[in-house]
Symmetry: C2
Subunit: 305 residues, 2 copies
């Protein structure tokens, strides 16, 4: 029987803000990270250590790390794609490295100009750097539930890549649906196969975007398969919310609200979380897609609920 | 084993447009109803026959009914709250009457200035009118999963009201979450109890709003409980989409997309449905909340998916 404790990692400061160049100041990012921690979010992806030319909005990640007043029990994490970035992230104070890799060959080529095999070599190099400081590594595997270039992805490819990642020393695998192509049925197909392959040698988590409105249903499917680790993003930030048709990560407050209603313990104070979302919305000057941010928790005004 | 056929009733022309006075012409409403039917939606709530003073946006419902070119196999339905409205709806050509009633006493008092018992007397009067022409009656029971005034609603009250409605001759009961307070767990609690009470003496369906982002997960929960009838609204219209914080019914195209991915047969052509949603969005001149309208089906561009 899996525990009813669920661990949320808010990836908003990285996945959410990476496309928002120049709009959000370093101070606003620091305030966002601190507000998340204050609301009880125990894992936060603070920024990324990649080429500032490729992702200019993340160029101030070292300053964000330096600016945070840390809270006990919170892991401040950083996205990296190569060994040099890994070293910079650790030097900046990252508690954990989030490694980005894709299962789709086409996506990998387009995104990082590497085959999946070449990307795995980078993973090995990152893990080698991380091991010098015993820094844990988590791998986010994108295009697991479909690829915008290739369409359907075979679950066997996901299983095989997961095996390779675990063998390289990655302690956590987040199956990611960056382009919003997963349906609950796919979660019920893929997750058990990966669990059967990796067993308890690594933690398995899920990372959904709400591109087609299915993210919360996919989280439910993941919960029913025993998954207790989810990536979310404050306010539903992500996927360039300013572009027509684009939609972001599943909103942290929508997942926290769901978990509370379904009897799970996320350790999150929903009121503080909604305040944090309102704060980043103000900083951005844009309306975020989160419904719970708009409507509030269902028990609002009904303490006896 | 329940069938894999799911019946969608699009309530957009009524529940969706009832708060949008003066914006959508009668011709646009007729075009919306015809586009829905053309896309394969077999039940459409065309309008309502209530006081034009109370709901001015629905004052042209007789003209909408008169203007539709009907398709075989499609039921064109109308919302009513009393016997006089029932007669007007039947005279206008409604194939089925949708009766609105609430399980919460406070909501009932505020909405129609009647106790639930008094509202049941109106149901009896409506059914009597309908029976003269063998017009079927469906009852939408609001505040089933929580009330904005009372908070939690006891499932026993829902069971009892459902029993009363069936005894009065209502052939279908739609459990409605007009204010978006349901979570999947509630669906799993309430639906089996009502099913156990009414058995096969009436059809049980579900009507969700996406106020807190849970509607699709609730539809999934309903499907797993054997429910095969759902109310939806084109584009996610409803709940006054122009008011900050408000959100509409679950979008027809999001449910149709989910059903296709989960292996259910809704009989709907998703491309035609998305075109219909784009058409009403243009008529409204407002951005609707549907994600599938923005992003398209996941298999777009991937015929081999």
């Amino acid at each position: 029987m899996p525990s009813n404790k669920v661990v949320i990692r808010d990836v908003g400061p990285r996945d959410g803000l990476q496309n928002v160049e120049g709009t959000v100041s370093t101070a606003d990012k620091v305030a966002m990270v601190e507000a998340l921690a204050h609301a009880g979010v125990s894992r936060i992806e603070v920024g990324s250590f990649v080429s500032p030319k490729a992702v200019p909005a993340m160029a101030d990640s070292p300053e964000v790390f330096a600016g945070i007043t840390r809270m006990d029990g919170v892991r401040y994490e950083a996205l990296v794609v190569n060994a040099a970035g890994a070293q910079r992230a650790i030097d900046a104070g990252a508690d954990e490295l989030c490694i980005a890799i894709a299962v789709s060959e086409t996506f990998s080529q387009r995104n990082v100009r590497k085959t999946v095999a070449e990307a795995l070599e980078e993973v090995a190099a990152i893990v080698a750097v991380a091991s010098r400081t015993n820094t844990p590594c988590s791998a986010g595997v994108s295009s697991v539930f479909g690829c915008v270039f290739e369409g359907k992805i075979e679950p066997s490819a996901v299983v095989s890549l997961s095996r390779s990642l675990v063998d390289l020393g990655v302690g956590e695998i987040m199956l990611a649906d960056t382009t919003g192509m997963a349906a609950p049925r796919d979660v019920h197909v893929v997750v058990p196969q990966v669990l059967a392959e990796i067993g308890s040698s690594a933690t398995l988590g899920l990372h959904f975007h709400n591109t087609r409105g299915l993210a919360i249903a996919n989280v439910m499917a993941g919960l029913s398969e025993g998954i207790r680790n989810f990536d979310t993003s404050l306010g539903g930030l992500g996927g360039c919310p300013f572009a027509p048709g684009a939609t972001g990560n599943v909103a942290t407050e929508e997942v926290a609200h769901l978990l509370a209603l379904e009897g799970y313990d996320s350790g999150i104070d929903l009121n503080l979380l909604i305040s944090a979302a309102a704060q980043i919305e103000t900083a951005l000057g844009a309306t975020l897609p989160s419904q719970v941010l708009r409507a509030g928790a269902r028990w609002r005004g009904h303490e006896a609920w």
